[in-house]
């Protein structure tokens, strides 16, 4: 049973390291991500923060892949020494993390640990520090293990799963990120905060019945003005109606599918409303 518990640690540690690595990449790749850096790199001078961030990323990626690569054996070649090096490195990595988070908690108590990118914005608490401590102990427990193999019996497989479930539950308890993930899964950004490219607005407009109704009056290929207020984007085209220069205004509600579209026609010189004006119903902007 003890061996089964130790064997579970290797895939668990690898998943944790690669998950943390992926979360950091996700934050770095998002063009307008919340770049508020809430991790221990904040303890260092500004010019060192990026190199240290890269170093952490490389260490997590290297150790995660190293744990997987040295877990089994290839043919008859066991990977005893490399496996010991990687597992010792993993234990050291988490031990350093415990120290850094403790220091961070004292010096910048409002900052998160940044362990899983922007998901880790909750201020560092004892639970957050205990997590790398647990993972450090896991890495120590994995030292000296023989190469991993598939469970030989269903009882052994059940034991594996039971240990894995217990440890995942423990990690979940120590992870403030879980609450953040649950909130994000159920979160839909209000339309007034949602970024929506102009191109999508134009596509929706050009496919609408309102567009077909007024297309004959429009005299230019490009709109003369486009702007946004809250949940509405407005598109103005120059045109002519009954020999008078007019402005044809479309209001497109900013939602992905079948947006509401309204239109009005104004005399370009007098601003008199010629076409269907908006109703006086309450409109969420």
């Amino acid at each position: 049973m003890l061996t089964a518990a130790r064997e579970v640690q290797i895939p668990l540690l690898a998943v944790m390291l690669l998950g943390a690595c992926a979360a950091k990449v996700w934050r770095a790749l998002r063009p307008h991500a919340d770049t508020a850096r809430t991790d221990p790199t904040g303890l260092f001078p500004a010019h060192l923060q990026r190199p240290i961030m890269v170093l952490m990323f490389v260490a997590e990626l290297g150790l995660g892949l190293g744990l997987i690569g040295t877990a089994g054996k290839f043919g008859d070649i066991a990977r005893g020494v490399p496996a010991t090096i990687v597992r010792t490195g993993t234990a050291l990595f988490f031990l350093i993390a415990v120290g850094a988070l403790n220091e961070m908690r004292q010096r910048r108590p409002d900052s998160g640990c940044g362990c899983f990118g922007e998901l880790s914005g909750t201020p560092i608490g004892l639970r957050t520090i205990a997590r790398p401590g647990l993972l450090c102990a896991s890495a120590v427990a994995a030292l000296g293990l023989p190469p991993l193999r598939m469970p030989s019996s269903s009882t052994e497989a059940e034991l594996w799963l039971a240990v894995l479930a217990f440890e995942l539950a423990l990690i979940a308890f120590l992870s403030p990120e879980l609450g953040e993930i649950m909130v994000r899964l159920g979160y839909s950004e209000p339309c007034e905060l949602r970024r929506l490219p102009v191109g999508r607005t134009m596509t929706a407009l050009h496919a609408s019945s309102q567009w077909r109704k007024y297309a004959g009056q429009i005299s230019a290929a490009e709109p003369s003005d486009v702007w946004r207020e809250g949940c509405w984007r407005f598109v103005v085209y120059p045109g002519s109606a009954r020999g008078r220069p007019v402005d044809i205004v479309f209001a497109v509600y900013l939602q992905s599918r079948r947006p509401v579209i309204r239109a009005a026609v104004l005399d370009a010189d007098t601003d008199e409303v010629l076409g269907p004006a908006g109703t006086r119903e309450s409109v969420v902007i």
Partner: protein, 365 residues
């Protein structure tokens, strides 16, 4: 990813726009297609092009200009309308680096004055040569000289802190170091601001790392309460009634206009390292609905209980970096929601040397 070449001609580049009337017309077009918000609100479509709409959006309390002459009873000001004479009330106060008597003001000073009554001749308050620098410290030269980046739209300013103000400012801004935020009010001089008053308390985080605002479920509440601050006119007209809005639509507004760093001598790399583009720091401390230049906002000074409809006239993304609160009359419920022009701030009853007032904003005028 959008490239500069992809940005069409209708983008809100206010300074380059050949037809700023395009922005002014937007509220009218919006009202035409959606209808006025309700009967009580200001509605350009209801007033058309008559004088009522213009009056609503013109200054009635505030006058800006250059002092031609001042005596204990009369102030002569060169304004946009030419030379104007204003009688001074006995209780009139003046600010020039501190409270002074109006007679202590100097010829040639740039002044912004507040009338006692709307459109009335009598002056209640004068501010002379007042300035403000809000942004990120990107270079420090000695204990008292700072180079501050006010964001891509406004550029960089030099701030000097005199020995008489050092203690006062350092109490509120303990980290006068590159990478940290600063917001100070003082006297304008040629090429620099002499900082005299801290306009807020320094946020503890570095400028590029403001905390994220909490997520919003449902729609953003309207009205929104928070803090209104002011900024110097820069390239805007001095008497402009308007505001810089922190959340302009990134698809059609100033977000693309992040300027290239200016070429300057010295250790350019070290300076640029600390410059922060506020557009790249996320939504900032207050989640506000995306608007555009020309959008109308009904803004209320909760301290003076004065309300005006103010159009969005520029990008105020730097306000996103400050998660501070205004404590002019109680603690504001949120951080910075509007960065007013000086004229608009005074028009709404704000005191420039205080730096902020608690405000409530209703979008759509």
């Amino acid at each position: 990813m959008r490239h500069l070449a992809d940005i069409p001609r209708w983008c809100d580049d206010v300074t380059d726009s050949p037809s700023p009337t395009r922005f002014a017309r937007r509220s009218l077009l919006k009202a035409a297609v959606l209808g006025p918000r309700d009967e009580s609100d200001f509605s350009p479509i209801a007033t058309g092009k008559d004088d009522a709409g213009a009056a609503e959006r013109s200054l009635v309390y505030t006058v800006t200009g250059r002092i031609l002459d001042v005596s204990p009873h009369i102030l002569v000001l060169l304004t946009e309308r030419g030379e104007q004479r204003f009688p001074l009330a006995a209780s009139a106060e003046a600010w020039r680096g501190g409270l002074v008597s109006p007679a202590a003001l100097r010829q040639g000073d740039h002044a912004i004055i507040r009338r006692r009554l709307p459109g009335g001749p009598v002056i209640d308050r004068i501010w002379a040569e007042i300035g403000r620098v809000t942004g990120t410290i990107i270079e420090r030269d000695g204990p008292a000289s700072l180079l501050v980046d006010e964001g891509p739209a406004k550029g960089r300013r030099i701030v000097l802190i005199g020995p008489e103000a050092t203690g006062r400012i350092q109490v509120r801004f303990p980290r006068l170091e590159p990478g940290y935020l600063i917001d100070v009010i003082g006297l304008k001089h040629d090429g620099y601001l002499q900082a005299l008053i801290p306009a807020t308390s320094q946020p503890p985080y570095r400028a590029g790392h403001p905390p994220a605002a909490p997520m919003v479920s449902g729609h953003i509440p309207d009205p929104v309460s928070g803090t209104a601050v002011w900024h110097e006119p820069g390239e805007e007209p001095e008497s402009l009634l308007g505001l810089a809005y922190p959340a302009l639509d990134p698809e059609t507004s100033c977000e693309h206009a992040a300027s290239a760093p200016p070429a300057c001598s010295g250790d350019l790399h070290a300076v640029e390292e600390h410059a922060v583009d506020p557009h790249a720091t996320g939504s900032g401390c207050v989640r506000l609905p995306y608007l555009s230049v020309g959008s109308l906002i009904r803004l209320r000074n909760d301290c003076a209980e004065r309300t005006r409809v103010v159009p969005v006239t520029s990008c105020g993304a730097t306000a996103r970096l400050f998660c501070d609160r205004c404590v002019t009359c109680g603690t504001s419920r949120k951080g910075r929601i509007a960065d007013l022009t000086m004229a608009a701030f005074v028009e709404l009853g704000g005191a420039l040397e205080v730096g902020c007032f608690n405000a409530t904003m209703m979008i759509g005028g």
